[in-house]
Amino acid sequence: MSSYNLTHLKELESEAIFILREVAAQFEKPVMLFSGGKDSIIMFHLARKAFHPGKIPFPLMHVDTGHNFPETIEFRDRLMEETGETLIVKYVQDSIDKGTAVEETGVNASRNGLQTVTLLEGLEEGKYDCAMGGARRDEEKARAKERFFSHRDEFGQWDPKNQRPELWNLFNGKKKMGEHFRIFPISNWTEMDVWQYILHEKIELPSLYFSHKREVVNRDGVLLGKCDYIQLKNSEQWEEKTVRCRTIGDMTCTGVAESDAGTLEEIIEEVATTRVTERGGRADDKRSEAAMEDRKKEGYF
């Protein structure tokens, strides 16, 4: 490798930092979505890098379904305390209380879809003109076609057939009043890149990502962790397994995977040999082949 060549991780990092700075320069009131998952932890890390030695010039926003793994919330609060950055929390429960969101019923009830309502309300309340997310194109095929700068109309809707072309490093964030953008600085990263970067940068993660013992139920091939929000069907029962999370989201729809990987190196080894995508454990994506595209059109990030 010549001395004027970057490793792929450094190149991806540079690309993400470039996008984050472009957001700060082009938008009046951006906000970064933060879920406490590894992708948003990386985004937060990149944002600190992009504006160093200054503070991050925008707040973070967590759309809290109220059904989080407790470890996620502890980790989130500690991270904010240590870095002194600003986090806003919006609760799905508030939208339900107001009547703008209606709780799903039945055994597979999830608040995942309701997040969209709370998110859009949060963006509107704060008059944010741009929300950054840690979505990656390798996660899901509708995402494979989304831009770095993704334009949304005044209803927060995505029009996949009418996306702006995106060339070189020239990003167009111009919009009309009331419209906004969703921006995805780590679009080009894969699950493997994320793990390698966490290892390389020694980024701390919630303990959920590492192997631990947990009571789970096997529902349609997805292992769900025991919590108050999941009701067992007649034939189901809790059983203890050694598991870890590949993604972290709402407890009602984020499956855990059986795994003995207790260190980053072991996780990387596992990711390298695994034959199922990380979203394969997400019950919300299994609803239909175009489930993600439909949710995105409605305003999901």
Partner: protein, 422 residues
């Protein structure tokens, strides 16, 4: 653990493919992805199921890249799809685009960031219009390397003669283009000949397999490391107790190599100063080059803001308001002669007026049509613009980062054109 370490040393190669379903592009990409384990079991299961539902035999890999519902329904690729895979040597980003003429804008988009263009030729049909179109776009967008894969060699008895004829035809056409580095590989995507493994059916071919080429082609010189260009993207001013007077210029190096102590000139003001430090979150660096994102501080307190550019006194870019551009039109609304548009170039934004259309290019014949100067969707033409303020640019041929522009419609805010400065 050695695997882990190896991964941290990898380079990134971006390549673009263009083509229709028939030339085996999906099969080829599918093979690269599957052989490098980038397609997972659940994706494969979903594909098998969907293919079966649609009454297709086998697995239709196009369903993997055609992510949007309307694309799957119509069986066409509308947009640029990005796909990822990695080998122990490199990480690859594929910008996969449809090859039909009506998707020129998608091909241009995919080509804009690519190090390499992968062109597919059906061995039975040879160099056809679509091949020429792709080659022209690769040349227009100055993609540094081209791999011409002559596919379906199994259907022409793996004949060296067939391969050599296509190679000669392509070279004869390419002589009219600006293509620097071309490689020809006879393959069979279906059977895997010369894709990842060497073919046993084509002993006469002594070149590398496609995967070997992708893993080893030298990309270190693809960036400009000669002309120092640092467009200021954002000014970092912490105004904190720890950094009360810090004023850093954040941006990405778009050409050349910068070092602390270097004398720099600021455009447009013309003031000069010295680089005090090149900061990153991980500490100061000894040198910065494209495409690094850094934050520079200067010895002197000069007024510098977004859109300004740091360069070398003895190597300045062109500073002009009248600019000649090759343009690809990307919007259904035609270009308005004498129309006004917003122009984005590096970290600059200005307005411009279309002064003149010199000619329109027929991308199949390379004929310059001076009679028809109406530029509409997917048209490529040469125009002259005048900007409201001077831009600091290089020719696209010299530097893709400082030689590229986009035009934005001021009424709809849509990106309507991509341009390469001549």
């Amino acid at each position: 653990m050695s695997e882990t370490k190896g991964y941290l040393d990898m380079e990134l190669l971006r390549f673009t493919t263009a083509g229709s379903v028939d030339d085996g592009k999906s099969t080829l990409i599918g093979r690269l992805l599957y052989d490098s384990k980038a397609i997972f079991e659940d994706q494969m299961e979903l594909l098998e199921e969907t293919s079966k539902q649609r009454g297709e035999e086998g697995v239709n890999l196009a369903l993997l890249t055609d992510g949007l519902r309307s694309e799957r329904e119509q069986g066409i690729t509308i947009d640029v799809a990005y796909r990822y895979f990695a080998t122990p040597k490199r990480k690859f980003i594929i910008a996969d685009t449809p090859g039909h003429i009506q998707y020129t804008r998608n091909m241009v988009t995919g080509a804009s960031t690519a190090n390499l263009a992968l062109l597919l030729v059906d061995a039975r049909h040879g160099v056809i219009e679509q091949t020429k179109r792709h080659a022209f776009i690769a040349s227009l967008l100055q993609i540094p390397h081209i791999a011409v894969c002559i596919n379906k060699m199994d259907l022409v008895d793996h004949s060296q003669e067939a391969f050599e004829k296509i190679k000669a035809d392509f070279e004869s056409f390419a002589s009219k283009l600006e293509i620097k580095d071309v490689h020809f590989i006879p393959i069979s995507a279906l059977n895997g000949d010369n894709v990842v493994d060497r073919s046993e059916n084509m002993d006469w071919y002594e070149g590398s397999t496609l995967m070997h080429l992708l893993e080893n082609i030298h990309i270190g010189s693809d960036q400009n490391h000669v002309d120092c260009r640092f467009p200021v993207q954002y000014v970092v001013r912490p105004q904190s107790a720890e950094y009360p007077d810090y004023r850093g210029y954040a941006g990405r190096i778009e050409g050349g190599v910068f070092k602390p102590g270097d004398e720099v000139t600021v455009l447009p003001s013309g003031f000069t100063s010295k680089i005090k430090a090149i900061d990153t979150f991980d500490g100061e660096v000894e040198q910065a080059f494209s495409p690094m994102s850094v934050c520079m501080t200067l010895e002197d307190d000069i007024d510098i803001s977004r859109g300004d550019m740091l360069v070398r006194e003895n190597n300045k870019p062109t500073v002009e308001q009248d600019i000649d551009i090759m343009i690809c039109w990307m919007n259904e609304k035609k270009m308005i002669p004498r129309g006004k548009y917003t122009i984005r170039h590096t970290s600059q934004t200005a307005r411009c007026i279309i002064k003149e259309v010199k000619y329109k290019m027929d991308i199949n014949t390379l004929h310059r049509n001076e009679a028809d100067r109406e530029i509409g969707l997917n048209d490529i033409g040469r125009i002259t613009i005048r900007t409201t303020k001077p831009l600091f640019f290089d020719s696209y041929r010299r530097n893709r980062n400082t030689g590229s522009i986009i035009l934005v419609d001021e009424a709809t805010n849509e990106t309507v054109a991509a341009g390469m400065i001549i």
